[in-house]
Amino acid sequence: MSSNKPNPLAAKPGTKGVDPRGPRFGATITLITLTVELIFLLANPEALSSSNSLAQNFATPAGILLTYITAIFAIGAFAGIAKHPYGAIFKAVVRPRLSAPTELEDPKPPTFAQLIGFIISLAGLVFAVLGLTTGAIVAVAFAFVAAFLNSVFGYCLGCQIYVLLVRAGIVGRGSASA
């Protein structure tokens, strides 16, 4: 039997899917910022020190850039992937040059992925402000791997974690029209 029902996967009326190329574009910009952050941390590991005041560590290039990265993840996680700043760049600059998306994607998994990115970069920022350079490097390296997989391979690690949590019943699915 080959069913002829309407495609159940297309965005339903009243629901909003996202162009899957948007989050991937955003991951590429995130990957670049994370690479610069790694260079800051590795090039001058003594800039962060536990003998500095928190404000002194915060005001280093590594501290400022990591604050920016964390803030971007926070917007994606709490305002939703549809309101992501890099998504806005994608919509304004990149998408008009591409063909229309063949399919839309559920916004919830990439939004959750932003939350994971936020938690990891926030942990890195806490390490940085406390002057623990190695901890900050490890956190940024984890974020780097995830952004790399998303950007280069189109594999969203955070989205897979979301699916597993839904499956385990830890995260509720909620209504798709949210």
Partner: protein
């Protein structure tokens, strides 16, 4: 820190990430032979669903799944090319019970059922053409691990 050491560390991260990505991609769309002991009742999937006389390509999809429509189109064509083989697409969005029962961790996931409705093989992700052919062969010849009459 020395510039060459910085490049080495970042290069190392790129190598690790690339290796991870290649491993993930290599596992996608490949056929995995099943034991053939789990038989699916078509009525459990939804009303009016019927399986093929020879075999069935049972696709599980979800809402807003980027690779599902392409998979659907491809498997429909395979079913058309093989008389007796049918394609069934089940949306898991409101069927978490099925996802749990069959341990489906990604969509699309495709089960290849034999003529009795037993799961002969499964493919996670966008199926490769050779994986579908191999899966159908397992189902039609009943080469799954332990068929019980």
């Amino acid at each position: 820190m020395d510039l060459s050491l910085i490049l080495l560390l970042i290069g190392g991260l790129i190598v690790v990430s690339t290796a991870l990505g290649l491993i993930i991609k290599a596992a996608e769309g490949r056929v995995k032979k099943q034991d053939g002991l789990t038989r699916i009742d078509p009525s459990a999937l939804g009303e009016g669903i019927e399986f093929g006389k020879i075999g069935t390509l049972l696709q599980f999809s979800s809402e807003f799944c980027t690779k599902c429509p392409g998979t659907r189109k491809y498997l429909e064509q395979v079913a058309k090319d093989h008389p007796g083989v049918s394609h069934v697409d089940v949306d898991l969005t409101n069927r978490q019970d099925l996802a749990q029962q069959f341990n489906i961790l990604q969509t699309p996931t495709t089960f290849i059922l034999d003529d009795s409705g037993a799961i002969a093989a499964r493919i996670g992700g966008s199926p490769r053409p050779e994986a579908v052919t191999a899966g159908l062969e397992i189902a039609i010849k009943r080469e799954h691990d332990s068929y019980v009459i």
